[in-house]
């Protein structure tokens, strides 16, 4: 049987929606079976509790941390925590110099590392490099430690160094200090600092090589963006090695270009000259010190170090949001219960259920059986929202806070409005004297524009706030965005197709007074006007196909009834239809 095209496209939409629902269930089910997903969405800090980490600054000697620095640190830590997902963590200060980070669930070591280390990046040229030990093999053949540098040694350069690679930086005192430096001393320290304008003695992060570095030439703050990625070789093939790609800002590009040109000069003369190497120093330790094999003037650099995906991503996040004024250490890490408790969630859900019941009563009252379409659409919307939230919970650690639950309950209003706008447009078209089928199509065309325009405002708000805001506001924007997208999906793929099909059933097409689309009730003012029926532009063929469709959908009792009516006389039926 050849179906008319609205029926075909309506059935296709419903089938696709079914496919989407099944796919989501399979994704989530697969996650539950084979990964650590759960059938239930994760809850936020206020409802489920989590872990409270108290961070305390690692201060050396008389160093102090000012209030401004502490607030700056809170702000940077918040961005670092948020970078890992939408879990609405809380970050605040405690006492005069501690920072409290409250994270839902149990954070892993990678998260802890991401938030606590300063990640101050400095780029310094290499002056000298050597073995990590502070000993030498003396003339007697024995391994002897270098003596501590005598205070009498000259510690100011004889000539003013001309640039960062000038060996005039290496004074006898510095040389002695370098010789006596033991990389093992860096093992438990995270504060190996030298003023930016002075040389620095340090080792690489695996403590396998010792460096004497010139003054800072490019600051970490001159990095405008950092991303983790897999390196490619000169042919564009991936090497499989994780790297961090750096993009410098204008000043950084200029500074880096200048140093790069100079170091490439040393490299051209002697490729093994330590002075051709440039060190990426993170928190006082050398991450990597590659030789400059070309002048880089486009402001792009790459650190290859020895990363895996996690550590590359961690470093990229840290560099992107800037360095903390100091590194912190974890003072305590306690599990913490929910502040709101289950009673609040339960009462929220009870209230939501009561509210929904009222909505059901009101829509049935207003739209009669058409209200059932609204209610079914809301049920489908609820199902989809639940699945999507559960999947997002698993994939990106999305967490539902009480405010989020309230947001979802409000979304009922936004979602139902799509249906209300649509139904009212159909009614308007019926009032203009169209048949139900064409009223559904014409009403949809008009309602669709309105729905797209109004939902776009919501989506715009969601995207802008998600990108620009942090913390709770970001969580709110995320929920708004998800519900808006699902809402439009439901109205296109469920509500409209359902109405297209229903418009072909006898019950609705005949304008039964319980259908909510009764032209008698709606078009009362037009009743009796001759143009009422002629305005309906339904072709005879279409009408025939729709009555076949309706006949197909009849129950046995209805069919028998129809046969009786047909036998009794067709005139009755015509009267009902006109």
């Amino acid at each position: 049987m050849a179906k008319s095209s609205p029926v075909k496209s309506a059935s296709r939409s419903l089938i696709w929606l079914g496919v989407i629902v099944v796919a989501l269930v399979l994704i989530l089910g697969g996650g539950v079976l084979f990964a650590n997903a759960s059938w239930f969405p994760k809850l936020g800090l206020d409802l489920e509790g989590g872990t409270e980490i108290i961070l305390t600054p690692q201060l050396e000697g008389g160093q102090t941390i000012s209030n401004d620095e502490l607030n700056q640190a809170v702000s940077i830590i918040r961005e670092r925590v948020d970078a890992s997902g939408v879990s609405e963590a809380q970050v605040s200060t405690q006492g005069s110099d501690n920072i409290v980070v409250s994270i839902p669930g149990r954070p892993d070591q990678a998260t802890l590392n991401r938030i606590k280390s300063s990640s101050k990046m400095e780029l310094r040229p290499v002056l000298l490099t050597g073995a990590p030990t502070n000993t030498f093999v003396g003339s007697n053949g024995k391994t002897t430690p270098y003596p501590s540098p005598a205070p009498s040694l000259q510690s100011t350069p004889t000539a003013k160094p001309t640039d960062g690679s000038d060996l005039a930086w290496v004074t006898p005192a510095l040389q002695a200090e370098y010789n006596a430096f033991d990389c093992a001393s860096l093992k438990n320290s995270s504060t190996n600092r030298a003023p930016a304008a002075k040389p620095l003695i340090t080792c690489d992060d695996k403590l396998s090589a010792k460096y004497l570095l010139g003054p800072v030439e490019v600051e970490g703050s001159e990095i405008s963006n950092a991303t983790a990625g897999i390196a490619t070789d000169s042919n564009g093939n991936t090497t499989g090695q994780w790297v961090v790609n750096l993009t410098f800002d204008d000043k950084g590009t200029k500074d880096f270009g200048k140093v790069s040109t100079r170091l490439f000069g040393y490299y051209s003369k002697d490729s093994s000259d330590p002075r051709s190497r440039f060190a990426f120093v993170l928190d006082g330790k050398v991450l990597e010190a590659p030789a400059m094999q070309g002048a880089i003037t486009n402001g792009q650099a790459q650190i290859s170090g020895s990363f895996d995906q996690t550590s590359a991503q961690t470093l990229a996040d840290q560099l992107k949001f800037g360095a903390l004024p100091v590194s912190f250490k974890v003072q305590s890490s306690d599990t913490i219960s929910a502040t709101l408790g289950s009673a609040q969630l339960a009462s929220g859900l009870i209230a939501g259920a009561i509210g929904l019941l009222l909505v059901v009563i009101y829509t049935l009252f207003q739209y009669r059986l058409l209200g059932l379409v609204t209610i079914t659409s809301l049920v489908v919307a609820a199902l989809l929202t639940y699945l999507v939230i559960a999947i997002l919970s698993w994939r990106i650690d999305y967490r539902l806070s009480l405010a989020g639950v309230a947001g979802l309950i409000v979304a009922i209003g936004f979602t139902a409005d799509s249906f209300i706008v649509y139904f009212e447009r159909i009614r308007d078209e019926l009032r203009d004297g169209r048949s139900l089928e064409s009223a559904v199509e014409a009403g949809w065309k008009r309602a669709r524009r309105t729905i797209y325009a109004s939902k776009s405002t919501n989506l715009l708000a969601a995207i802008v706030l998600y990108v620009l805001a942090v913390g709770n506001v970001q969580g709110f924007a995320f929920t708004l965005g998800v519900t808006t997208v699902l809402d439009v999906l439901i109205v296109i793929m469920f509500t409209h197709p359902t109405l297209q099909l229903l418009a072909r059933t006898r019950f609705f097409a005949s304008g039964n007074k319980w259908s909510g689309l009764d032209p008698d009730a709606l078009g009362a003012v037009y009743r009796g006007a001759a143009q009422f029926r002629t305005a309906g532009s339904v072709s005879a063929g279409k009408r025939a196909s729709s009555s076949r469709e309706a006949a197909r959908r009849q129950t046995i009792a209805e069919r028998k009834q129809a046969e009786l009516v047909a036998a009794g006389g067709a005139s009755e039926k015509d009267e009902e239809e006109s």
Binding site: T363, A406, R431, S454, K455, T457, A461
Partner: protein
């Protein structure tokens, strides 16, 4: 039957047989709006500003370790004995130092801190040295607010441009944004009047209102766009009448949507505030409940009349209106259309 009467009401609004003169009586609505906005600004000033919670201002924190019981109500009582109206957040911690109770409350004076500490110690059956107190900073600090405001400004600018492009006139954007501010100011005023504490949940509520207000206006404006475009070649309605008819035709939708949106929120507000005393729910639902009602109201009574006003005096519209009125004078009106 009430439903039928409401349906008849909808039919009459659609055909214009019955019309509520939203645009014509605009001066009245403007005066009401002005009075409400001024009141909403004065109330918080008179009452000494908004009542910002711990999350915004920071406060005092007590940690009681090695507790015998973890009854959270005990902590609340202990704080309220010293400062009856203080907000209290209690949670149970479980760490290296054993089980403990963490109490966060408003900033207390040194004397109050001492008394609360002593009360907590006796309530949980521990010695005084197991109770530590410290100051906690705001978790919704200035940086969070700054970034939220930045986001809002960008959103409003983009929304203004997007609406201007979609509706082909910036005057609709202007009317929509004015009514948006009207809604936010009045909602904030009511909040100040009730004196509920402003929590992050409240702020989320305000953001939702902002979205709802703009959303509702766009839905009604889209009908106005449709009507004024269709009428531009017919001579049935003046511009202001077209706007008014569009508002009337969408009135049933506005009422239904407001009711459907407000019912669940109303249920949360009622249950949260009066039955269970669930603070967060109460905070957010109050802002939402008022916001939904005001947002729907302002689209009809402020945004649409404002738009008609903004367009008033444009040469094309004056010419169109003149033609309509002239045609009407020639043949007595066949349809009852109230003149604004």
């Amino acid at each position: 039957m009430a439903a039928t009467r409401f349906q008849k009401f909808g039919n009459d609004l659609y055909t214009g047989a019955r019309s509520i003169d939203f645009v014509g009586k605009r001066r009245v609505w403007y005066i009401i709006a002005a009075v409400l906005v001024v009141a909403a600004i004065i109330i918080p000033i008179v009452r000494g500003g908004f009542n910002f919670g711990i999350d915004f201002r920071g406060g005092s924190q007590f940690t009681v370790s090695d507790v015998k019981t973890i009854d959270q109500a005990l902590a609340q009582q202990a704080v309220h004995r010293v400062k009856p109206d203080a907000a209290v957040q209690v949670s149970v911690t479980n760490g290296t130092g054993g089980r403990g109770v963490r109490v966060q409350t408003d900033q207390l004076s040194t004397d109050q801190t001492k008394r609360v500490g002593a009360d907590l110690a006796s309530a949980y059956g521990v010695t005084q040295d197991k109770v530590a107190s410290t100051y906690i900073g705001p978790s919704w600090g200035a940086d969070v607010s700054r970034q939220a405001i930045q986001g809002l400004v960008v959103f409003l600018l983009l929304a203004f441009v997007a609406m201007a492009l979609y509706f082909r006139t910036w005057k609709m954007s202007a009317a929509a944004i004015v009514s948006l501010f009207h809604d936010l100011i009045i909602t904030a005023g009511v909040y100040a009047l009730v004196g509920f504490e402003i929590t992050p949940a409240t702020m989320i509520g305000f953001l939702t209102i902002l979205g709802y207000s703009l959303y509702d206006t766009v839905v009604v404006f889209d009908k106005i766009r449709e009507n004024t475009r269709e009428d531009s070649d017919g001579l049935k309605h003046t511009f202001a009448e077209s706007v008014n008819l569009a508002v009337n035709q969408t009135l049933v939708r506005s009422i239904n949507t407001a009711v459907v949106a407000a019912l669940p929120v109303g249920a949360i507000l009622f249950i949260g505030a009066f039955v269970l005393g669930a603070d967060t729910l109460r905070d957010i639902s109050l802002a939402l409940f008022i916001g939904i009602l005001i947002g729907t109201y302002s689209t009809i009574f402020i945004a649409a009349p404002l738009y008609a006003d903004f367009r008033d005096g444009e040469r094309e519209i004056v010419r169109h209106d003149k033609k309509v009125l002239a045609a009407r004078a020639k043949s007595p009106a066949t349809e009852a259309v109230p003149t604004p």
